[in-house]
């Protein structure tokens, strides 16, 4: 039951992007189509689950004063692995995501979970927490990606749904990201109001 709670937390109640407003840069930057959004979510999930696992494993050996630099080294190891795997096997995706792959290292979600959760909890809970947070991140990123691609290019995951000439190109350009997340948040506020 407790394990389920750890997994569930990141999906809705503490959704990193839409509730806590952290890790915004990649969400807005790579959500111009659904495939990029999926690729970024997988990369973040790999780093987040990996770093949570390792931090939970070594948490008893890590001295309190220098824990942050140690976390950063663990995280950057995973980011480097991810960077090189992507470069080797998915060069197109790597080119599309660009500098945002190495920038996962400063994504607040990852350091935040290492510090707030993995450092204080056993391995299994930490891995589940990482998985839940990654899923929450992927849901937010994916929904923004799908909305922008649909409105801006008339397609979803590259499948054309209607003629691209009548689509609002602005949605796949940078301003579209701000517009989408602004309306999404206003919608969530309204929903929350109704529930209360």
């Amino acid at each position: 039951m407790n394990l389920w709670k750890d997994f569930n937390r990141g999906i809705i109640p503490e959704n990193p992007v839409l509730r806590l407003m952290i890790g915004l840069c990649p969400v807005l930057a790579v959500s111009n189509n659904a495939i990029n959004a999926l690729g970024m979510s997988v990369a973040v999930a790999f780093v987040l689950i990996g770093s949570n696992l390792v931090v939970a494993l070594v948490r008893k050996q890590v001295p309190d004063q220098i824990r942050i630099p140690i976390f950063i080294i663990i995280i950057s190891t995973f980011v480097t692995i991810c960077d090189y795997i992507m470069q080797a096997y998915y060069p197109d995706l790597y080119k599309a995501l660009g500098v945002f792959v190495p920038l996962i290292v400063v994504n607040c979600i990852i350091l935040g979970r290492a510090e707030a959760f993995a450092y204080k909890n056993p391995v299994l809970n930490s891995v589940l927490d990482g998985a839940g947070m990654s899923l929450g991140f992927a849901l937010a990123l994916g929904s923004i990606g799908v909305i922008r691609e649909l409105l801006g290019a008339g397609s979803v995951f590259g499948i054309q749904l209607f003629n691209a000439t009548i689509a609002a190109t602005i949605m796949i350009l940078p301003p579209g990201a701000f517009i989408t997340i602004g309306f999404l948040m206003a919608g969530l506020n309204k929903l929350e109001n109704k529930v209360q």
Binding site: M21, I22, L24, C25, L28, A29, P69, I72, I73, S76, T77, V79, T80, D83, Y84, G98, V99, P102, L103, V105, V106, N107, C108, L111, I170, L173, P174, P175, G176, A177, F178, I179, I181, G182, F183, M185, A186, G187, N189, K190, N193
Partner: protein, 192 residues
């Protein structure tokens, strides 16, 4: 002319906040007052210029000759974190006025992804030392321009009648969208 192109592209056309979406946490976090946004801009200009110089030197003179390019992510983030601490100590001793203006923003900068991004981008674009200095100056000036303008708008918005669900972050995002649209107008200038 080439240097001017690099500066202008980084300053307006590829504005780091509004077009490239890097360092957005600070863009929304410290832009509620004009004073705080000015303090943050000063700190970013100062730290970004120094850290991009140091990271360029480390990458080209240390990591490349030793074939350790894969260590760049880990190296850069540790170097930048250490550098910010040093700069804080140095400023406190030598220029206390400037230190007071930047104050609490200096430690926050360690987590500001713009600093790290500029270090990576200058390497990805294969810039030389002078070029990468001009580039980081352009990026940090663009950062300052965007965040100070945004803070001005947000201060005025406090008095505006905003629909209930849009109060707070949603309206801030929509404002940023309009600013981003305006910056998009610079695309294609000087054939960049």
């Amino acid at each position: 002319m080439e240097l001017f192109g690099i500066f202008f592209a980084a300053f307006l056309i590829n504005n780091i906040l509004l077009i490239r979406f890097i360092a957005l946490c600070s863009f929304f976090g410290v832009s509620t007052k004009i004073d705080t946004s000015i303090g943050m801009s000063l700190a970013v200009i100062f730290v970004m210029t120094i850290s991009s110089a140091v990271s360029w030197l480390i990458y080209h003179w240390l990591l490349t000759p030793c074939h350790l390019e894969f260590l760049r992510t880990a190296t850069f983030i540790l170097v930048i974190a250490g550098l910010v601490q040093l700069e804080e100590l140095y400023l406190k001793k030598t220029i206390p006025n400037l230190y007071r203006a930047m104050g609490i923003y200096l430690p926050l900068i360690t987590t500001n992804c713009a600093i790290l991004a500029v270090a990576f981008l200058a390497i990805d674009y294969r810039y030389g030392f002078i070029q990468s200095m001009v580039y980081s100056l352009g990026v940090s000036s663009g950062y300052s321009l965007a965040i100070i303008l945004f803070a001005n708008i947000r201060e005025r918005m406090e008095l505006a009648p905003i629909p209930k669900w849009f109060q707070g972050y949603p309206i801030a995002f929509l404002t940023a969208a309009l600013m981003s649209l305006a910056f998009l107008g610079f695309t294609g200038m000087f054939g960049l």
